[in-house]
Symmetry: D2
Subunit: 354 residues, 4 copies
């Protein structure tokens, strides 16, 4: 029986992802959060921003000074925004502290791709090849051996998981895949702005960043790897995210052309087999059972695959909670692997419905 808990820091803890890390780690049996930072809210009690997190009532947000924190903790979660995370994460690696980065800063293998899509220079390009893409269902073994995991966000997690079996079995044409994703508004972060002002976002529905959302290259990179084990140019994904008037939850609908005719039963059986040992993946046989309302607050990703024989397409649908399997839960799942804990530790609560 484990006697002492590991001490964890959460950097950038004032947003929704940070709050969700605190909520989930609060009931983790082997890890205790000891340090939280939030530059703009430094000095404020954690409960002033998260009144629901009663057990943190004695915590205050610290400013983002990484070095002193690294002396006190055993591992680090970084929930800092894109481009802001690479320096603190690099400091963790130098201090030999295991770190799970929830930003995009270490998800792309190619520096050039990162700099083109994020419009900023990468200050630690040498770490890009060392970082492991933190999707346990695809990279479990490498995550176990890694000290730097780049946990994917909600859109790539949903898209890659819903398409992976089709790629693994070479069932589809890979040059024209359409991914049409719908996300709750917590995915846009906690900073107030007009598009997320309640009266603008309620009863509202839009496609945004059409043709240019930054998660596109990440989805293509990982799907490419399933086929070839290396980055190639032939997978093309047309990815369109949409904002939906709900808080949590993401539904992704992907369309691909089958290389040869297949029945619905064959495809479903293949999905069930592909994910047979996955604790957090559930294959559904009706599309209406793939619904973020059934995974809310949980680490599950529900998936369904449906063949349209008339047009020879396969349509797949995946649902997850963008703050759990799409962020904090997924990061903890990787942390469990890195630390040698059972993978599902602290993540087994069912969703809250309705």
């Amino acid at each position: 029986m484990r006697r002492t808990r590991l001490k964890a820091a959460v950097l950038g803890a004032s947003g929704y992802t940070g709050g969700e890390l605190l909520r989930l780690l609060d009931s983790h049996p082997f890890v205790t959060v000891t340090n939280v930072t939030a530059d703009k809210s430094a000095g404020l009690p954690v409960t002033s921003l998260f009144p629901h997190l009663e057990t943190f009532h004695e915590f205050r947000f610290a400013p983002l000074h990484v070095e002193p924190i690294l002396k006190k903790v055993d591992l680090v979660f970084s929930a800092l925004p894109h481009t802001k995370s690479m320096d603190p994460v690099t400091a963790c690696v130098k201090a030999k502290k295991p770190v799970i980065d929830l930003s995009a800063d270490f998800r792309l293998m190619e520096r050039e791709t990162y700099e083109r899509w994020y419009g900023a220079p990468h200050t630690s390009p040498g770490l890009l090849k060392k970082a492991v893409y933190g999707l346990p269902e695809l990279h479990r073994t490498r995550i176990r051996r890694s000290r730097l995991v780049a946990a994917p966000g909600c859109y790539p997690t949903a898209a890659i998981l819903q398409l992976a079996p089709l790629f693994a079995h070479r069932m589809i044409q890979t040059d024209t895949i359409v991914v049409d994703s719908k996300s709750g508004i917590s995915g846009a972060g906690r900073s107030p702005a007009l598009p997320y002002h309640f009266p603008e976002a309620h009863d509202s529905l839009t496609a945004y960043n059409v043709t240019r959302h930054r998660h596109t290259p990440e989805i293509e990179q990982e799907l490419n790897r399933i086929i070839h084990g290396r980055k190639e140019a032939n997978v093309h994904v047309v990815f369109t995210p949409h904002l939906i008037p709900m808080n949590r939850g993401l539904l992704s609908t992907a369309y691909a052309k089958l290389r040869k005719p297949l029945t619905n039963e064959t495809v479903t059986a293949l999905y069930k087999e592909f994910y047979a040992n996955e604790r957090f993946i559930r294959i559904r046989e009706e599309s209406t059972l793939v619904n973020p309302t059934h995974v809310r607050g949980s680490n599950f990703c529900d998936i369904g695959a449906f063949v349209d024989q008339r047009t020879n397409h396969v349509i797949t649908v995946s649902a997850l909670d963008n703050l759990v399997k799409g962020a904090a839960g997924q990061a903890i799942q990787s942390m469990n692997l890195m630390m040698g804990f059972p993978e599902e530790t602290g993540l087994t609560s069912p969703g809250i419905f309705p």
Copy 2:
């Protein structure tokens, strides 16, 4: 100056589409609703189901006996459900009363297609070729001369309008078009059922009728006609509708592969030209301005088209109010044409935002 108003009946007036017909016709200067039917609510005051429609406070729903009504009115709107509308509409045609049918019963030209997708025999197949598909932007001249118009519903209207310019200019490959549509829940009608029970539908998001939604053949039929003037088999649409937790409004995102590279500017210019004289179509240059929140309660359809040069695709987005341009407003627009009124009569109110 017109002295007497035409008298109109609304059959099946107790649902949301019926209510919207009453709301819009209430301010129409040349038409007065004199008869409303609703079999299950026969005898009830209209205001018991539509408390907002004060001006109908002396009306009661009548049972669905068409013949006596036809003697009293000049024209008929049928908001009856699919398969229930064909007999009353046939009676109207026989009585030589202009009729606008809001069901799917006369939208498909081929009897066989209707019977396959709707799973019911068609009792008036002879009228299928006489009915005009009530999308004024495409069939204005024929609607003017018609006495039987089959007004399209929300999904086909959004899909056809957003794709028509691409078809007209032969810019896309027509065998693999993906239409991913998102609709508010009023589109599911007014009959209570578990999927639409508030706690199930709120904070919920699903794809439904995947690969088999009945509006698919209608979309293909009309897109085919744009190319050929006749039904052919080569247009294939993969159509997936989704339920969104909002009342009114529909957003449709369509994906097609360009036949040759084009710039965003070229495509937008072409859309503006194609719809230059259309009062109810607005072309938007940013995807976030295509939003049902800006057309709520109005007859507008907002459309944007965006080229993804990386993948050589064009992504189009369209937004409309499913009860207005997707139902009652569109029917009135056709009625105006049939009766020789200015097309926009009674339909010029702006949307209600927020």
Copy 3:
């Protein structure tokens, strides 16, 4: 028949109330908006903030320089915020232009009361007694003769209208009236802030400004006037506003102790009589028919009154659209009276449901 339309300016037109004035005036037959100001958005097209208002596509917001505008217009609506409206409104009065102020700056008769509740000096105290409180149902005759009308906002309108008959007939004890009001979030304005950020306000429900909401003295002033024709100290209202996760709409529930037992029928009959000639007041006999969903987008206020014989209390409920009868519609109703137009001009559209 009127040949020329009056020209109107809307000051502070970039918020929700301003947008609603533009929407409603757009279909007003006797008034045309010719000038709109919005200091922070000066230079922007009106449609950049209000994409639904197509007919204003050639308008741009001007900075707030009142004098040159006053030379061009016949009348002015001020939708500026509290404390910012008094100077421009004073300029209108000096220029002898009829003005309807939608802020609180001229609603209170006593300078001292204003300064205590709003925490700012009043720069035109001399106008406080000249301004007429713009609730047509109570002050129609005085509004007709006024050139400066202070249109009440959503909370006071709902509270005063739901309680007025009880005061007029001296049916209740006036020292302990509880008004518990629930408002959609558009009532909080259009400036983004954390409490109105979608993920914070959705699935959320709070009482705010408990014991100290600024509309309290206005409600007491007007109820006092019904009894005495002058301000006295004996009416006490405990007023608590709540934020509800919806865009538009306000429901107010008020509680008062009856001076002597009365039946439900008596009270309802009295309400019907009191408001018998009011075009925009509808008395409902079931509480569930008093619902902002039935007045959305319209100028109606629905009211119900219910006697609890067990406790000898009367409970009244009122519903209105906070942006129409609670703001822009009410201001236009007063303007119609001031200008000698039929009171309901431009305001007769029914609500939009669902």
Copy 4:
């Protein structure tokens, strides 16, 4: 260390309260659900109605035959509706099985009061005096010794907890208390009906059962007991429930006249003292922090009390999750007491925000 878990049955498990009992008991360390009934859904898998409850994938709903179930289990939760629960609960008592009834059937001490408000004869009037009202914060000792606990629902729990300190300290006049409560729609149950059909309930807001909601006598009974230890006639509560467009969560605002002037600080201090040892009650000093969004999915009840010195009233606000502290969580809290477990067992998860 406990070796064997107790076996529990849940009667009437197909509604939202039943589902919530299953969700919470799933992680309870000392109890295992072994039997679930649902008459109308008998034979269906539990996951067909609750897709989120993965761990119950081998369970099917049984018909409601209590006797055979009683032989297999150690304790029973009844989530049956009012009037349907009294017979099965009586059977449990006869079989000497501890039972927690979540209906209203055993909450009122007086048979006559029950029959007047529920309009049905009580078939086990002898048990009314033996049943303990299952609000642990007020009746902890008696619950520990009881074998029949009548767990209160959401409205009485919120109202009694927010008013109890004022009664205990005799700070208010007890003849005119106004309780204005706002509930999410899951409180109305899982049976589809027009008022809860999404398009009717969304963007909608109503008061219902005005003057006659059945929970009124229960609130009065319990508040009376705080003063006198017995039922008396002098406490009068005017209780008005409202439906709010959200799923879970209840906010209750109560108004009472102070017997003598008190400061805000005094009242808040008194609340903190009164609930000092209560694990699930949190006293808030700002009204906007009393918000169901912060207790969603948890067993907490947040309370604030605010003095209006101007009118000599105290306004209290309480927030809870109607399915947890207002139903299933509260029932488990009582069960823990009855069985000698630590009171908070299985109930310590924080809320899920946003």
